[in-house]
Symmetry: D2
Subunit: 388 residues, 4 copies
Amino acid sequence: MTSFDRIVPVLDRLAIEVPSWAYGNSGTRFKVFATPGTPRTPQEKIADAAKVHELTGLAPTVALHIPWDKVDDYAALRSFAQDHGVDLGTINSNTFQDDVYKLGSLTHRDPAVRRRAIDHHLECIEIMGRTGSRDLKIWLADGTNYPGQGDIRARQDWLHESLTEIYAHLGDEQRMVLEYKFFEPAFYHTDVPDWGTSYAHVNALGDKAFVCLDTGHHAPGTNIEFIVAQLLRLGKLGSFDFNSRFYADDDLIVGAADPFQLFRILAEVARGGGLDEGSPVALMLDQCHNIEDKIPGQIRSVLNVQETVAKVLLLDREALTAAQDAGDVLAAHQVVMDAFWTDVRPLLAAYREAKGLPADPMTAYAASGYQQRIAAERVGGTQASWGA
Amino acid sequence: MTSFDRIVPVLDRLAIEVPSWAYGNSGTRFKVFATPGTPRTPQEKIADAAKVHELTGLAPTVALHIPWDKVDDYAALRSFAQDHGVDLGTINSNTFQDDVYKLGSLTHRDPAVRRRAIDHHLECIEIMGRTGSRDLKIWLADGTNYPGQGDIRARQDWLHESLTEIYAHLGDEQRMVLEYKFFEPAFYHTDVPDWGTSYAHVNALGDKAFVCLDTGHHAPGTNIEFIVAQLLRLGKLGSFDFNSRFYADDDLIVGAADPFQLFRILAEVARGGGLDEGSPVALMLDQCHNIEDKIPGQIRSVLNVQETVAKVLLLDREALTAAQDAGDVLAAHQVVMDAFWTDVRPLLAAYREAKGLPADPMTAYAASGYQQRIAAERVGGTQASWGA
Amino acid sequence: MTSFDRIVPVLDRLAIEVPSWAYGNSGTRFKVFATPGTPRTPQEKIADAAKVHELTGLAPTVALHIPWDKVDDYAALRSFAQDHGVDLGTINSNTFQDDVYKLGSLTHRDPAVRRRAIDHHLECIEIMGRTGSRDLKIWLADGTNYPGQGDIRARQDWLHESLTEIYAHLGDEQRMVLEYKFFEPAFYHTDVPDWGTSYAHVNALGDKAFVCLDTGHHAPGTNIEFIVAQLLRLGKLGSFDFNSRFYADDDLIVGAADPFQLFRILAEVARGGGLDEGSPVALMLDQCHNIEDKIPGQIRSVLNVQETVAKVLLLDREALTAAQDAGDVLAAHQVVMDAFWTDVRPLLAAYREAKGLPADPMTAYAASGYQQRIAAERVGGTQASWGA
Amino acid sequence: MTSFDRIVPVLDRLAIEVPSWAYGNSGTRFKVFATPGTPRTPQEKIADAAKVHELTGLAPTVALHIPWDKVDDYAALRSFAQDHGVDLGTINSNTFQDDVYKLGSLTHRDPAVRRRAIDHHLECIEIMGRTGSRDLKIWLADGTNYPGQGDIRARQDWLHESLTEIYAHLGDEQRMVLEYKFFEPAFYHTDVPDWGTSYAHVNALGDKAFVCLDTGHHAPGTNIEFIVAQLLRLGKLGSFDFNSRFYADDDLIVGAADPFQLFRILAEVARGGGLDEGSPVALMLDQCHNIEDKIPGQIRSVLNVQETVAKVLLLDREALTAAQDAGDVLAAHQVVMDAFWTDVRPLLAAYREAKGLPADPMTAYAASGYQQRIAAERVGGTQASWGA
């Protein structure tokens, strides 16, 4: 049994959720560029996501964003997804695009606004029942732009109250994951800016509340793998939003900006049991394909995660432990780098072929004619984007 | 003669250009909030800008953005402005919102795209002739999101070629100011990311080319006042875009995030002759009032600059020099802090009244009924925003 | 009763602990500059600290660093301090200068090294009994320089074990404060890098364990006042190490780099009850006077804190609340800035004189001849520094 | 001819200078750990450096630091080096460890101090004549810790004067390389903080002056490969100081913190002709082996550079150009990543063996017994460190 054979079971259960909104247009405050073939409906987004799964075997579920993916009949949407070979996943709430939320949502000073934001989450939970989703993901844009604008301290208390009410409505098999973000769209203070804040809140809520770690949402220089190790130790790492960054929340393809960081993050996930059977850690993408094609952008992304997981699994932990025991700094570092530099691409190509998947999903997609087909078919209507 | 009397002549000639787009809506990639009374035309933007000048005496010119402020008759627009008590100022080009510029403009690989971007700038120069503007400001969104996407080196050469052609069309009394920006909207590399790059280009162009320093466009921790001192020393500081930031290019009200930094920046401007009669340094605002009211946001901003300039001018340079000569670190620092902590607000209120201006322009604006009037009158049409 | 009169009781109980090591030499890895008059013994350090208190009334206690301040008779040291008008304060442990700690102390892989580090802390607790100190402050240099060097996850578990044993030895009136630091001296990972980690540990320990917040120990752009608000809300803010920074852990004079940040931090301290009678929040300096004179450097520092506290206390909270209630972003921000710009220096000079203190402690120190006297008297011996 | 064969000529001339001080002890301001076998003399440092070259064939020259490596007879030192198979390289000046330089050296307010600092550099040039060195490297610790402490603007003028005098003494075949550093040991402003400043100065000096780029000396998030491309374009990239960093100037092993960044940097070096025959770009290490063994730390480092250069040379530039021409963002990025992920280790092992070098220099060093021998022999005396 080669070392690659030994990691196959983990690769076999590797699943990376893709978000419906990744298939719509995205951009910066300066410009959102449109591309031919962009979906106009939740169904078209799901069809695109299903294509990613068909070619990679890595993306069996699709996350929805409410209200962007609102439909009249969620059971029908679920059937649609299943007919396309995927299932519906995490429900993401949205309290940052209504005018009423200009100064906050779950943390707003005005109880009426908080009420409305809470109700939106209760509606999301209801949808989860119909879509069969396990996770409610809450990312809050709440924060302030100027010192004095809000009462930082009181907002934490309001947040706790709001989350407590939402949490109380979760079903037995449902979870809440609370995402943190360093800054943006608020530019002075953010109400859930770091893992410590998210942890303090989910810890106060109970066993069904977890932290969601978005890899792009940290201060410059933050050691993210440390946070991964810590949250796994505390039993509170619920999910990842994968992407990569050079500067801020750049939302680039996961692994594109710093592949070694992705490796270190996934190494701590593995070290802490996050890739074990039954692990509570859900892996998801959350990126913006501002200038690159969306479907191949998603394919590239899940492949990057798969390749990195393979490297991590090939890490010689015995040799690593031995070097650590010996206090041999260079030797221990070398063991890590040996795994990182292992070229797993041919191994994974063979693995894919053995599973009836294309050896190179990127080439297979380009050859599939899918892009040309959707560009030709999806004419008229409004292309999906943030907010639609 | 009090020390305040001595600084009056400098205060008298203090002029801070305001941008037309500050009066339109702005926001983040997540949401642009609208407000009642937002201008729908260049004329309405100019009227709002004129109100700022009327109440503060600080903002005699308005910068335009092409194509956002395109009109058929620029001479008429200029008359309109002058009738309102202000003049037209810097012309800002825009090569970041056409689909053709998705992968670059003046640095684009394709000569046809570069041609189009150059032609846009030549059109801007033509407009400058009609508006009586001295400065053409170039900020480029050009850059790449992924390593490999572009040829970083070749793009510099293309940029040089493009700028050379544009520069050749400048009139004798016209200038080009080249702005740099650390990142965004490009997330891997930016073609003019730092002062060194802008300086290298304007230095190669000639005497009519200068650097534009936007206070929000730097890496974390950058000592901006050092750059100010250096560029003044090199004779290449052409203009400022004022705003403030906690994280990235937050575009908050100038002086709001770090008032001491603004003080240090303006102290180096003064030290280097940038407030002297005939100085080449143009002061301008470039901010985003995402959540606060726009007109009072601009009033607050020019007041912040005025207050800080007053503090800087009150700095006891003799005492500072003496402490520096003595190598007394704490004493020298104290001289600086004494100026910073001086409460110039009452002095400036009296100064304003002596000039027939309201002592407190913020209160005067609130009392003027202007906001209510424009909210009532400006109904229908499309509110101005980035891109309109 | 003026608004200043109203804040006098808080000013009267304002106490800022000074560290013994601030009076010794400090520097960078490149060079430690020596200065005449630098103390050679714990007693001389205490005498210098007492001078700061004599002139300001602000620094009634002196923190010690073990082993730097080891003496045979702590009761005698305490009497010495009290004879000089100050008392002994926080005991700081040190596990970063013995060769055995090269790869860690309380987190070291080898139980024998952890044993030794734990024993050092038990010795510190013993010393606390003799000095009458309430707080044991733990700052750990533990971390790694290269990925793979250590087992990040296991080290957290070892840390928990070590702290648990130390905590068990605390007396009823004693506390442990656990400091966090973003990086340095470890350059890849640090075992207690952020407030979340410190909070998770002290939370697991019990009611006598708190977080110590060093204002210089954060990632670039971190909103420190948010952490203050959060930790106060969670009941776990135990103490501050004050200093300031432009880049990393620069250890400059508190308030020197960003006075507005210090204001915002202290505003949240006040908002959260941290300046109330009986507050658990201890204020301390922890700075490096690398190039400036140490005693006036400390005087300047406690004055900066006092001035900023006065500004914070003068903040018109009713007006602030009203503006927040109205959702008036600019008005709320203005209330904060009005407090910040208030020139409290004359008020505090009068306050000091009313208490029999010099109006200007900096001038008083310069005029006292103390510096000249210690420079003349303290000849020979080894000047105190880190490590001595 | 395989693609590897094609790159052999470049690999054959790859030379990475090692610094004498890398073999001495280094550390942080908190602690410098000593290790058995550390050199006590320049000769012992050179012997260690020669061992690195013997095992790797990559490090033919050794940089010296004056005064750390001062000897009476430099001709003899050169012969000593040549007898050991290496040559002497860059001379590094030092103006940061004398008390007189506390407030600056080449930028000091006092002409007498500037005189002394200039004279030190003239002495360095004299030494260069005797050691046969081409390059004088100037890194200045000059800067200030507090706003007001120094006159930022005047210091630039003094710097220019000082450099002009030093430059005038360079021989025809000699060069000056001016290093920049973002911060540390100065914590408010640094006199040569960025590439723009270094470029402005060397540009004003003349053809024999170049910029030295230390990979650790940048603000967070800085795109270093862009600077490389720009300086090569401007003809002013003289040399590299290689190391790596997570936070500040961590001085870790090159390629350890972000191997993809090193790849991108070297890709731009190659793109700009920096690896061509006769290129002006000198490659050097400048690291701190605070906790790891020094000699294997240096071996690891030159191997990291060699491996990365091999990857860069294997980059398929035709395919890259084609993808860029097509505007295919993902395809272009993929070409870059394909080179990065190529496992060059077996190819390089074979290459080394073909040249009579050990296939694995790390293992060869461990097996050589050299470390044990120097640990046994180098007993007594003072171990070299910064400052000795």
